[in-house]
């Protein structure tokens, strides 16, 4: 099944592109002109996105480079390990919603240090795959369309991340221990 999924994800984009273009030709849509039209919109969108991303990335960079984020992780580690989240995995759990690249490097580090088939390696892999960078998604999606009031999107997103972390621990313990 997994081999199939891999094949599908490789084929999906080229085949989707082909299908769209075939239907467009059949329906006599001026494909190239329409493509360029839509592409221009994409360019405008990415420029308007820049300040949102820049602001967020700078704030994260300050927090990380000052050492405050590490101190925060150190502070939370004992609390998290009390509820069953291993101390080694705590940095990943805390970084995942904040920064995608930082989380990925922590995951790589854990897999490298403890081995991919260890409990920690499997746990890090599952956590990395089952959550996403909440702060980035909210910044990009709300930023691109100019939503100023996010409602409780951030709150729900962070609660979901927390649940995801706990659930990963339970599932990996259950499946592999």
């Amino acid at each position: 099944m997994i081999e199939w999924m891999t094949v599908i994800s490789i084929w999906l984009v080229p085949v989707t592109v082909m299908m769209i273009l075939i239907v467009a030709i059949i329906k006599k849509v001026p494909a190239y002109e329409v493509f360029v039209e839509g592409g221009k919109e994409g360019l405008k969108m990415s420029i308007s996105l820049l300040p949102f991303l820049l602001g967020m990335l700078v704030a994260i960079a300050i927090l990380r480079s000052s050492g405050a984020l590490d101190a925060f992780i150190g502070l939370l580690q004992p609390i998290l390990s009390k509820i069953g989240i291993p101390a080694e995995i705590a940095p990943l759990a805390i970084l995942r919603p904040i920064s995608g690249t930082a989380a990925l490097s922590v995951t790589t580090e854990i897999i490298k240090t403890y081995g991919p088939d260890s409990f920690l390696g499997r746990l890090a892999s599952t956590m990395q795959g089952s959550t996403d960078t909440t702060l980035y998604i909210l910044t990009v999606y709300f930023g691109a369309v100019g939503i100023k009031k996010m409602g409780n999107a951030l709150k729900v997103g962070l609660i979901a991340d927390f649940i995801g972390i706990i659930v990963s621990v339970i599932i990996v313990s259950w499946l592999f221990l």
Partner: protein
């Protein structure tokens, strides 16, 4: 909320650096973070231009509408305030499918389009219920095959690089369902 969080992140970092003696690193990071954003936007713009171009063609050819009609019964329950046959539905579905197959770069442009269409429905600069539901589903990740993680596992010679797929799908499923539930509960308390 985001205004305070954003400002606090920077303020806490700078104050911490005063006591920790890391002001120099902070000073460097400020400009590095800014130039990282430019790099990110440039790589994002290639994807945005390509996919929004392609999506415009799909829209003109009526493909998105057909797609939306096909899956309407499922999506309708999640996004009750999106009218039938609205293009937002098509973009939401396109974003979900791209996410499921791990095509992160294709998912973002479609997600942004979906947000744009939902904004047209709500006509406000405040996040609507559908927008929050949509983003909550996105942040809880929808990936079926976490290709990046499998890649890393292969690199460090795992005996079974793909064995985490089942645990990932299960974790994703439970997280997404709980995220939707929490979102619904909060939505109710917001309205009351």
């Amino acid at each position: 909320m985001i205004n305070v969080i954003w400002a606090l992140m920077a303020i806490i970092g700078i104050v911490y650096a005063m006591f920790n003696g890391t002001m120099e690193q902070v000073n460097e990071a400020l400009f590095e973070g800014a130039s990282d954003a430019i790099t990110l936007v440039i790589s994002l713009s290639s994807v945005l231009v390509f996919w929004l171009g392609m999506m415009r063609v799909a829209e003109q050819a009526g493909i998105l509408k057909g797609f939306a009609k096909l899956f309407r019964p499922i999506v309708k329950r999640l996004f009750p305030d999106i009218p039938d046959g609205h293009p937002a539905m098509g973009y939401i579905l396109a974003n979900f499918s791209a996410n499921l197959f791990g095509l992160g770069n294709a998912a973002t442009p479609m997600g942004i389009k979906a947000m744009e269409e939902m904004k047209k429905i709500s006509k406000s600069d405040q996040a609507s219920n559908s927008m929050i539901t949509f983003l909550v589903i996105n942040t809880s990740s929808l990936t079926l095959v976490p290709t990046t993680v499998i890649g890393i596992r292969m690199e460090y010679s795992s005996a079974a690089p793909t064995e985490i797929v089942a645990s990932t799908i299960l974790a994703t499923f439970i997280t997404t369902v709980s995220a939707i539930t929490i979102d619904r509960l909060l939505q109710k308390s917001r309205q009351n």
